[in-house]
């Protein structure tokens, strides 16, 4: 009989040498961030009138949104396709998506010149703008992700609300609130799960539409009217590799075995998914006859080739092999390559492909920009660690539940 896995708290020491390095990286990022708020964007970044968008939009926002796709693919598999076998990956993926999107929102917040007007799109609408659509959908998707996470909070605290001393009078009302939430959510959560999937497809594709308006400023290798479709397909194919990647890192970090019985079947879906993405990418290249640009050797053609070969073709071949799917290190490598490929694709679309007609030099991110981006990633990992230690997110073998309990939809 298979071991029943139940989401539970991870009990480990929070501070390890790795965690301390992450804290230092986060602090370093925050210092540069302070400069941005006191002296303007120009004081920290290499952005200028020729290159209005750089690392923060290309990586923190565009790549961030793509790499948080694990939440979507696992929700689609676990809830929409209703495969109970995969329920153990849903919660960690949901948490990553929730934190990932939160940092996307923070990334937008620090990049826009007038951060205190970030709420403007809520009441000032421009239905023609792809950015408006991305903004609204991301805002709603973050909200939906938080709602999807609520059952984990209620599960953690129902029957355990125990505030001390002067706040103790709140215990009963809080308990009641949690119970109402839990009851309400267990009946309505499917609305939000489906909504999350719809919102995901909308904003992933609109993120691709974003650069279409840049027209001639974008290198023809990337500039295509099917960009929205390519963005959506690549986001879908990077979802499970992210889940595999995180699950293996978490297993290593918390000293448990990699969950190969769940991860291997996920790997089976990746060859077809990557195949579809590759077919559209190559097909688009041949229809628009942009392969001619690959004959000249420059940054654009090299980056494009790396993106296709290292990011799609090699992992695609790897996922076709049973040996790779069953071997933790190889599966991890193949997944990392897909992640690298999609990451590079977003960087290419938003930074490498962008060539302004009048430029006085090229753009490369400053130390400040890199520090802030690295700092955000470090903060995200630190928060993830705090949350899995305090909420039942990661599944661990549990002897007390030898028999499967009846399934209820929970985050």
């Amino acid at each position: 009989m298979e071991m029943y896995m139940k989401p539970s708290l991870i009990s480990k020491k929070y501070f390890t040498p790795g965690v301390i390095v992450l804290i230092l990286l986060a602090l370093n990022g925050l210092i540069f961030l302070a400069f941005r708020f006191f002296f303007g964007i120009g004081s920290v970044t290499n952005l200028n009138n020729q290159y209005p968008w750089g690392l923060w939009i290309g990586v923190d926002v565009a790549a961030g949104v793509a790499l948080a796709a694990g939440g979507f693919t696992s929700a689609a598999l676990g809830h929409i396709m209703y495969r109970e076998h995969f329920h153990s990956i849903v919660r960690p993926a949901l948490l990553t998506a929730m934190l990932g999107y939160t940092f996307v929102a923070i990334g937008v917040f620090v990049d826009i010149g007038r951060w205190y007007y970030i709420w403007h799109p809520l009441i000032m609408w421009n239905g023609n703008s792809a950015l408006f659509e991305v903004g609204i959908c991301v805002m709603m998707y973050v909200t939906v992700l938080y709602i999807e996470f609520l059952p984990i909070v209620t599960e953690r605290f129902i029957g355990r609300v125990n505030l001390k001393k002067s706040l103790s009078f709140l215990n009963k009302p809080l308990e009641k609130l949690l119970k109402i939430l839990d009851k309400g959510l267990s009946k309505t959560i499917f609305i939000f799960i489906i909504l999350g999937v719809v919102l995901f497809t909308l904003h992933q594709s609109s993120l691709g539409t974003l650069m279409v308006i840049a027209g001639e400023k974008m290198h023809p290798l990337w500039q295509t009217p099917v960009l929205p479709l390519l963005f959506l397909l690549s986001a879908i194919s990077v979802g499970f590799p992210m889940v595999i990647f995180e699950s293996m890192i978490a297993s290593k970090s918390f000293g448990s075995k990699p969950e190969m019985d769940v991860l291997t079947p996920l790997g089976y879906t990746l060859a077809p998914l990557l195949g579809i993405y590759l077919a559209f990418k190559i097909g688009d290249m041949f229809i628009r006859e942009t392969f001619v640009y690959l004959t000249e050797i420059n940054t654009a053609s090299v980056m494009f080739t790396i993106e296709i070969v290292v990011g799609i073709i090699i992992p695609l071949r790897m996922f076709l092999s049973k040996k790779v799917l069953k071997s933790p290190p190889l599966l991890f490598t193949a997944s990392s390559l897909v992640i690298f490929g999609v990451f590079l694709n977003r960087v290419n679309n938003f930074i490498v492909a962008y060539t302004p007609p009048y430029s006085f030099g090229s753009y490369f991110p400053s130390i400040g920009e890199i520090s802030v981006t690295v700092g955000f990633v470090a903060l995200l990992v630190l928060l993830y660690r705090i949350i899995v230690m305090n909420f039942p997110v990661i599944s661990q073998p549990d002897e007390r539940y030898a028999i499967k309990t009846k399934y209820t939809i929970r985050g």
């Binding site: 010149g113 970030i118 703008s129 903004g135 909200t143 499917f190 308006i213 027209g215």
Partner: protein, 299 residues
């Protein structure tokens, strides 16, 4: 109606579909004088064969927009022509010199072209940029969030941003002297030009004038009006004696710049039918799969 839409939108994500159908209606009902292409819109015809590179327009522009500037005399300095310059947050228009190797240099003034179908207007996340009835494309400081998507979108690379300001950085570009023309005055650059290289008038008339000029002096001009059809037409039009690529004008198609992106956007959203159908489809799949899984029971 509008208010209700906003409120229900904020209320709950569950009402998404109902609330969001308001978008197409709303954009169609936008303030009457904005984003409607008027037949009588104004424009400026720039005759680069006449311009003498005095840069008085640069000075007048700064004065009209209350930007810091040195005295008018200092603009006689020709050394600035050594490098190509671009409009930025400190100078909304600049004049560049070309064909330096021949005896008579050619000058080209650069500023916002005031497109008929502006990419920046289409791109702006909050609708802070609008095409006005008089042809000018203006920016609204009360809406702008400083995302700089207009700069990404602009095919002429015109909008600039105050990167060194921590609070209220502005998007700066030529506003076609909206506040002056409103009062019946000429745009500052047109008014000061000593050689009448700039002609202000209704765009339709300017195209006629330009055609006549080309017909009358075929040796002086190439047979091309830059801006007549570029990205769907611009309010500012240029005449030149040589190919425009020699004057650093970008080679652009005749389709409006926002065209493709808007049709993709509206295709995906088409009155929210595709997203709503997707929602229904997913709900169906989820229900079927759940039923299947329940009937199979615990294995």
């Amino acid at each position: 109606m509008e208010k209700q839409n906003r409120r229900s939108f904020l209320k709950t994500a569950g009402l998404l579909t109902a609330a969001m159908t308001g978008i197409p209606n709303k954009s169609a009902k936008a303030a009457p004088e904005e984003n409607i292409l008027s037949e009588d819109r104004m424009g400026v015809l720039v005759d680069t064969t006449v311009c003498i590179g005095c840069r008085n327009c640069e000075w007048a522009c700064k004065k009209a927009h209350e930007l810091p500037t040195e005295s008018l005399e200092s603009y006689d300095d020709k050394s600035v022509f050594k490098k190509m310059r671009r409009p930025n947050e400190a100078a909304l228009t600049v004049v560049n010199q070309y064909e330096k190797d021949i005896n008579i240099p050619v000058y080209a003034k650069v500023q916002c072209m005031h497109c008929d179908h502006p990419a920046c207007v289409s791109a702006c996340i909050v609708g802070a940029i609008s095409k006005r009835a008089n042809g000018s494309v203006t920016w609204d400081t009360d809406k702008c969030i400083g995302c700089r998507y207009c700069m990404v979108a602009c095919p002429f690379q015109i909008p600039s941003f105050e990167y060194d300001k921590a609070l209220n950085p502005e998007i700066r570009k030529c506003d076609f002297c909206f506040n002056r023309t409103k009062e019946g005055k000429l745009p500052a650059c047109v008014e000061i030009c000593p050689v009448e290289a700039l002609t202000y008038g209704a765009r339709n008339d300017l195209i006629k004038i330009a055609r006549e000029k080309i017909k009358k002096y075929p040796d002086r001009y190439i047979n091309y009006i830059y801006g007549e059809n570029e990205v769907g037409g611009t309010s500012w039009l240029y005449l030149a004696g040589q190919d425009f690529s020699k004057l650093d004008f970008p080679k652009l198609g005749t389709k409006p710049a926002p065209g493709v992106s808007e049709s993709i956007q509206h295709g995906i959203f088409a009155y929210f039918v595709p997203p709503a159908s997707l929602y229904a489809l997913l709900a169906g799949i989820m229900w079927l799969n759940k039923k299947k899984s329940e009937s199979e029971g615990v294995e």
